[in-house]
Amino acid sequence: MKNVVTSMDYERLLCATGPYEGEILRASDRKHPHKIAWIQCVGSRRVTPGDNSYCSAVCCTYTQKQVILTKDHDAEAQCTIFHNDIRSYGKDFERFYQRAEILPGIRFIRSYVSIGREIPETKNVTIRYATTGDGVKEEEFELVILSVGLNPPADVKGVAKKFGIELDPHGFCKTNPVNPMETSRPGIFVSGAFQGPADIPESVFSASGASSLCGEFLDYRRGKLTKERVYPQERDVSKEEPRIGVFVCHCGANIGRVVSVPSTVEYALTLPNVVYAQEQLFSCATNSAKEITDMIKEKGLNRVVVAACSPRTLEPLFRDTLREAGINQYFFDMANIREHCSWVHSKEKEDATQKAKDITRLSVARACHLEPLQEIDLPVNKMALVVGGGIAGMTCALSIANQGHEVHLVEKDKDLGGKARRIHYTLEGLDVQAYLRDLVRKVYQHPLIHVYTDAIITEATGYVGNFVTKVKSERGVTEIKHGAAVIAVGADEYKPTEYFYGKDDRVLTLLELEEKIAKGEEKLIHAQSLVMIQCVGCRQEDRNYCSRVCCSQAVKNALKLKEINPRMDIYILYRDMMTYGFSEDYYREASNKEVKFIRYEPQDKPQVEAVKEEGRSVLRVTVTDPILGQNLAIGTDFLALAAAIIPPVGNREISQLFKISLGPDEFFKEAHVKLRPVDFATDGVFLCGIAHYPKHIPEAINQAYAAAGRALTLLSHDIVTVSGSVCEVIENDCVSCGACITACTYGAIEFRETAQGRKAWVNPVICKGDGLCNAVCPTGAVYLKHFTDEDLLSQIDAAVGDG
């Protein structure tokens, strides 16, 4: 059937460089489909031969992304998603799902489906599905997308043989459960989805983490092959009139297909101070960068505007190009005619060309006013501070220390171990306590790690490469100087107010249940029945996220209890089982061992009451069975609640001390959710463990090594360079009102005594260039370099147009 495609095919259809240049068309008739269906879990979560038994972990969310993009292309599109569980277990995934779900014309239908037939005249495809109320239905769709999962790479056996590494039963790389980047062969590491199905952040964790593990082996060779870049002497252009060169990029077809690049070039040549303009196929290609360098020299350019994509990714490259030509790198401006123009106006080519000209004109106007700026080189202190002595903090500290750097490890409790002290075994069977004892021993025995317990941080000052942190601990007050900091402060378990928790001692949290199982508490392990309720305190309005680990934890405890007492009746009341990846196998195992899984809707939560049944004192749990549509009453001896994982106490203080931000759920917020998941926007501070977001132990270990790897990219250098686009004070204009000092929560501005009295002074190293001080200064004394009033007003003036 021509109009049934895989999700990867569809991804290409959505893409500007795809078969129809970003238009969504059907293969059968090259028409826009309006009624589109997605079928989830194709080839995954199945036991039929040829299919994968595991969950591919990424499809739920990529489908939601495709739905959103489809609505972007065609606001009228009717999208239907046939799904099993919605596994929105990743950071911010729950909100992302909600965003897709509320779009008009979107239906999420929980149903297994089968493809009916192709209608000969229209080539439309029918799908048969069943819903609780309406029974079996057959519906026609213009395009059907199969959300296919992840397989091990092609020729995985060949790869395994070549490297001498073992594979797991699913054909992915066999890894060490306490270090998922270690293969069966020492010195060979694995990162990304070869560990098992993984999303982008997890892949980046393991990539940075693997680099840290390599660093542990190769640290003695670090920097031996590097050569210092030598740039030509910077030309002084302060006496010259602006001579601007404009380079307009086609970006293959991305821009050129919509915007008339030649007429934009022609237009640029008419702008004041533009002495040269040309088009380029890909401005970022090596030969194009060389062309820019050559033209700067040949035409005597002293300012460059590249009209191409977002400066977010490529500005550093073009700045470097200017340096190569002997021009200060801040004489550069990027006009974004792709994301801001061609991509969003693909259907309005003429207007898009006009807009590209406008955007270029604004950039040229600003370029006239740009000033050369110098970046600041700072020395780097070689020590690291790790805040939090749980599994993540300890693992990270060890990896940094194994690469020759001293580490100060600060823990608020009297013992190391963190939340893992309450976890006894994992789903895969790891003895967590034995592992933890070994880890703690390694930390204490490492000559380069200094441990502070019962510790609180009272003060943290300084900046990248040069932090000063005061720690009050059993050792007294210590002032620690360090170049990098890692935040690994963990998270807490929510104390439920629901379901008689704290009032009836038969009601436990999952962690308490695990402790009782580990202790072998008779009453529990010989109980007749146990009910677990999932999603207690999260996936709701006030905590709008999934705690990620609880479903697997529930399955883990259920299997453990079944092993001890096979006759126990165990019920798991859930909303969506988040047993993503290989955990799916354990979910199936539990189901096969007669653990009863009953789904409930958030608006119809289970009810609990304490009653006597046939003389036996039980908790009666009432829940609506979604299949029968009837109330089901279960009398149980124990009730375990999957209590939410909540941000740690003291996270606000930590965020203020280290000047790092918190996300909407108050977990620590990384610099970029996909691309920089262990960095903070604040330089020199890194993040790992469940302080970032709930995660399983192996995932926390991945991220801990990643944070070590990222910290090493800083600590292994002798100097670090900070941006020249920071604020500065014109002392003569300063009336010392202090408005800027109040506005700057980074603490970058202070008063200093001068010959003219007290004046504000900006520490350029702490300044992050947000420019708030500039906007609040009543006299214009403090200004943000590279984004001065003059720069921005010139753009506002240029926006009026050229008549």
């Binding site: 972007d72 779009l103 947000d770 420019g771 708030l772």
Partner: protein, 212 residues
């Protein structure tokens, strides 16, 4: 650069250049990319500026701020389309409101001159401990705010307008009140205070006020 970097002067310059609408986009509140939460500052500036616009006879709907994340493409499109539609409905800046060109120019210049003062007022009186857009909007619609606005801003603005007017030529109290649509008693109160500060003087021969 943060949305809090948007200076009152930028907004004003855009309107002075004849733009029919100004849109400011910032990060979602409480989700600061920095740690400064400058978007609250942008919000309070926008609400203050809308108040000033209203006072000088301009439709405050021409200025809008919206907080969204870089992942909210669809929302951005909706918001921008809606805003463009609104601005189109409102028609050309000033003319549609029935403000004559000379008065408009004078008013905008008067506001420009007071920007440093507005910054002080915003900082001292209008920065709020609130954490939601609704609370900000509520405050800016409240009697408290109106009282503050009347006390701190209206008179200053009138004096600024009068001084600008007198720069062109000496005028009588009556003439000034006619041009600026102000109450003659208010005008003479402003002229008295301004002459006390030595900003204006009374030209006996011409029976007119002039710049000192």
């Amino acid at each position: 650069m943060c949305s809090g970097r948007v200076d009152l002067a930028f907004i004003l310059r855009a309107f002075s250049n004849g733009m029919d609408g100004v849109f400011i986009g910032g990060c979602r509140l409480k989700e600061c990319n920095y740690i400064t939460h400058g978007n609250y500052h942008a919000l309070s500036n926008v609400l203050l500026f809308r108040k000033i616009m209203e006072h000088i006879g301009l439709n405050p709907e021409r200025l809008r701020i919206k907080f969204l994340s870089s992942g909210e493409g669809i929302l951005l499109v909706e918001v921008i389309n809606d805003f463009c539609q609104k601005v189109r409905e409102l028609g050309p800046f000033g003319k549609s409101e029935g403000v004559d060109e000379r008065g408009l120019k004078l008013n905008l210049e008067a506001v420009t001159q007071l920007i440093p003062y507005f910054k002080l007022v915003e900082r001292e009186k209008l920065r709020l401990p609130f954490k939601s857009e609704e609370e900000y909007k509520e405050f800016f619609a409240s009697d408290d705010l109106n009282r503050l606005f009347n006390e701190l801003i209206i008179d200053k603005l009138a004096i600024s307008q009068i001084l600008l007017l007198l720069r062109e030529k000496p005028l009588s109290t009556g003439e000034i009140s006619k041009i600026l649509y102000l109450n003659p008693s208010d005008v003479s109160r402003h002229l008295n205070s301004s002459s006390r500060y030595g900003l204006v003087r009374y030209d006996e021969s011409r029976k007119r006020f002039a710049l000192a």
